[in-house]
Symmetry: none
Subunit: 207 residues, 4 copies
DNA sequence: CATGAATGAGCATTCATTCAT
DNA sequence: CATGAATGAATGCTCATTCAT
C-alpha cells in the first residue's frame, strides 16, 4: 500500500518551503551575493547535496524565493487597499512601501534577479512569470488611481508605474542609508509625495 | 638625497588614477561583482601585488572609483544646469538621469557601496566624505528648484531629494529591465514627471 | 502462500536484464565514465535505489554488462565463421573487428574493467568467468586457424592471440582517433593484415 | 636591479617540471581518471590553487605530461635504433614496446587523451602538435623498415602503422591483464611477431 | 616600488550509496 | 520490492590577499 500521493507531495512542498525560508534568512543576513548554497543548506538543517533534491540550481532557489516574495507583495498591496475606503491609491503605494521596508532582503532580491541584466540564468518562461507578477501589482495600483479619480483610465498605468518608481527609489535610498545621510526622513517624504498625488486630483477636478 | 615629497606624492596620485581608471573600465565590462583584482591590475599595466601598494583593499579601490564618480556626477549636473536658461531644475534632474544612464557601472557602484549596511569596509570618514559629495549634488538641485520658483527655500531640499529619489527609482527600474517589461519607456516617464514639476509651479503661482 | 521460487528467480533475472540493457544504452550515449546510476535507473524505468536491489554496486553492473558483451562477441564471431566456407580465420577476425567497431561502448568497457589492475571490484570468481569467456573466443579463432591450415594445432592458440592482439590494437587506434590522424584507414589495414596471414599460409604449403 | 629573466624563466620551467612529474606519479598510482588536481598538488608539495599558476587547466597539465611522454618515446625509439646494426625495424618496435612496458601510466595517458573522442578540451593546435609527435615516431619506424628491405618506400608507412598497431595491441592486452589470463607471454609473442617480419623479408627476397 | 608565486578558504555542483517508509 | 530523500565526500576552479625577492 502506497503512501497517499497527495500527502507525499505536500511533504515535499513543505520541505521546499523550509529551504526557501532558510534561504531568505541567509539572504537577509549576508546579502544575496554573499549567500552560498552550503550556508543555506546548513540553515535549513540539511547537507549541501540535499538542496539539489528540491532545487536543481542555485538560481532556481533564487527564483522560488522571489516568486514567493512577489506573491506576498501582491497580497499585501491588495489587502492594504481593501482596508481603505478613500484614497485607495495612497493606501496601495503605502502598502508597497511597508512591504519592502519591513523585509530585509526582499527588495534586494527583487531587483537583483528579476529581469536584470546581470544575473541571468532564469529561463525565459520563469522570467515572464515573474514579470507578470509585478505587472499584476502595477495593474492593481492603476485601478486604484482610476477609482480615486486621480487618472483617466488610459493614463492610469503610466502614472502607476511612475508612482511605484518613486516608492522604489525611496526604498533604494533608505536601504542604502542615503536618505538618512541627506537628513531626510522616509515617512515624511512619503507623506509629501502622497499628498501631492491627492492635490493634483483636486486641481484636475476644479478645472 | 630625497626626491621632493610633493613630486613623490603627485606621482603616487597619478598611479592611483591609472589603477582607478582601469578598475572603472573593468567594472563596466564585467560588472562590479565580476571584476577581479587580477584583471584590474592587468588592465592598469600592473601585476596583482602592485595594486596593494596603492589600495589596501579591494573595497578601498571601490571607494576611490565611487568618489571619482560622484565628483563627475556633480560636475555634470552643474554643467547641465549652466547650459539652461529656464527650467534649471528640470535640466539638473535630466543631467542626473543622463549621467547614470550612460555609464554602465556607476549606478550599480554607487548604490552597492555607498553607506549601505552590506558592503562595509568604508571607514567612517570616507563614508562621511562620500555622503557629503552626494549632498552637494542635492543642494545644487535644491538651489535650482528655488531659482525656478518651484519651491520655497525652506522646502527646496526636501523636494530635491524627492525628485532625485524618483530619478534613482527610474534608473533602478531601467537597469534591471523592469520598466521595459512593464511596457513603459524611460524617456516618456521622465518627460511626464518633469512636466508635472513645472505644472505644479504654475498652480502655485496662480494662487 | 509463496510464489514458485523458479518463477521468482526468472522474474528477477528479467529485471536485471532490463537494467543491464538500459545501462548499455546509457554507456553508448555518454561513455562509461559519464554514466551515472541515476541516469541508468531512469532509463530502465526505475528509481535510483531500486538498482541496488539487483546490483550491489555500480561495478557489479559494469561486470554484468561486460559479461553480456563477451557472450555476444562469442556468438558473433562464431556466426561470422559459420557463414564462411574458406578463410574461416579471416572471417573470425573480421567478426571480432566488426563487433567492436559497431558498438560504441563495448570495447571501452571490455578493456577498462576486464581484469585490469585499475578498476577492481570484480570478485576473483567473476574475473575468472570473464577471462574464460574471452578464452573461448580465442580458442574458436585458434580452431579456425588450424582448420585453414594457417597454423599447426600446437601453435594455433599462440597465433590466435597474436592476431586478436593486432585487431585490438587497430580498434584502439581507431577509437582514439590516432589512425585517422596518421593518415591510415582501418579497412585497408585490415585487408593487408588478413591477406598477409593467407600469404604466409601459401608460403608454408610450398615448403 | 632585476633578477635575470633567464634564471627566472628557468626556475618557472623547473617548477612546472616538478608538478608534471608529480602528476605522472599520481597518474600511475590512481589512473588518469582517478587523479585529482588536489592530489597532484599535494604530491608536488603545493596547495591546490598554486597549480593554476603553472597550468591554466587540468587538461593543460595532462597535455604537458603527454607531450613530455611522446618526446621521450621518440628519443627512446631513435636510441634503440641507433644501437642496432641490423634489424633496425625490429629494434625500433622493441623500443616502442619497452618504453611503454616500463612506464606505468604513459600508455594509458597517451591513449586517453591523445585525439580521442572522449576527453576533448585540447585545443586544435595542441592536438595537432601531439599528433605530429606520434607521426614522427611512425616515420622513423617506416624508415627503418625501408632500410631493412622489409618494405618498399611507398608501403613503409602503411606497414609501420600496422606493426605499431600490433605493439599497441600487445600493450593493451598486457596492461589490462588479459594476455596473462590467456596463458600467453608478452616477450614470446613479441619474438614471434618480430621474427615473422624478418621471415617475410626473406620470402620477398627469394622471389 | 614592483613582481608574481603561493596560500587557503570558498564556490556550485555531482554522485555512489544508504535507508526509512 | 520500490521509492526518493539524504548523505558526505569529492571535483575543478577562483580569488583576495600576502610576502620573499
Amino acid at each position: 500500500m502506497e503512501v497517499e500521493p497527495d500527502r507525499q507531495e505536500s511533504v515535499r512542498l513543505f520541505k521546499r518551503r523550509l529551504i526557501r525560508d532558510a534561504a531568505k534568512r541567509i539572504f537577509s543576513e549576508k546579502g544575496i551575493g554573499g549567500a552560498s548554497v552550503r550556508e543555506i543548506a546548513k540553515a535549513a538543517g540539511y547537507t549541501t547535496g540535499a538542496i539539489y533534491t528540491y532545487f536543481a540550481t542555485k538560481e532556481e532557489l533564487y527564483a522560488d524565493v522571489l516568486r514567493d516574495s512577489l506573491d506576498a507583495l501582491h497580497d499585501e498591496v491588495v489587502a492594504a487597499t481593501a482596508a481603505a475606503t478613500a484614497d485607495r491609491a495612497a493606501a496601495a503605494l503605502r502598502g508597497l512601501w511597508t512591504f519592502y521596508d519591513s523585509r530585509r532582503s526582499d527588495f534586494e532580491l527583487g531587483f537583483y534577479l528579476y529581469g536584470g541584466a546581470r544575473p541571468v540564468g532564469l529561463t525565459p518562461e520563469l522570467n515572464r512569470e515573474l514579470n507578470g507578477l509585478l505587472d499584476r501589482v502595477m495593474d492593481h495600483i492603476a485601478g486604484c488611481l482610476a477609482d480615486d479619480g486621480l487618472a483617466e483610465p488610459e493614463h492610469a498605468h503610466h502614472l502607476a508605474v511612475s508612482a511605484a518608481t518613486w516608492v522604489f527609489g525611496l526604498l533604494l535610498m533608505t536601504k542604502t542609508g542615503r536618505l538618512r545621510s541627506l537628513g531626510e526622513d522616509a515617512e515624511a517624504q512619503l507623506d509629501t509625495y502622497l499628498s501631492t498625488l491627492t492635490t493634483r486630483n483636486e486641481t484636475r477636478k476644479q478645472r
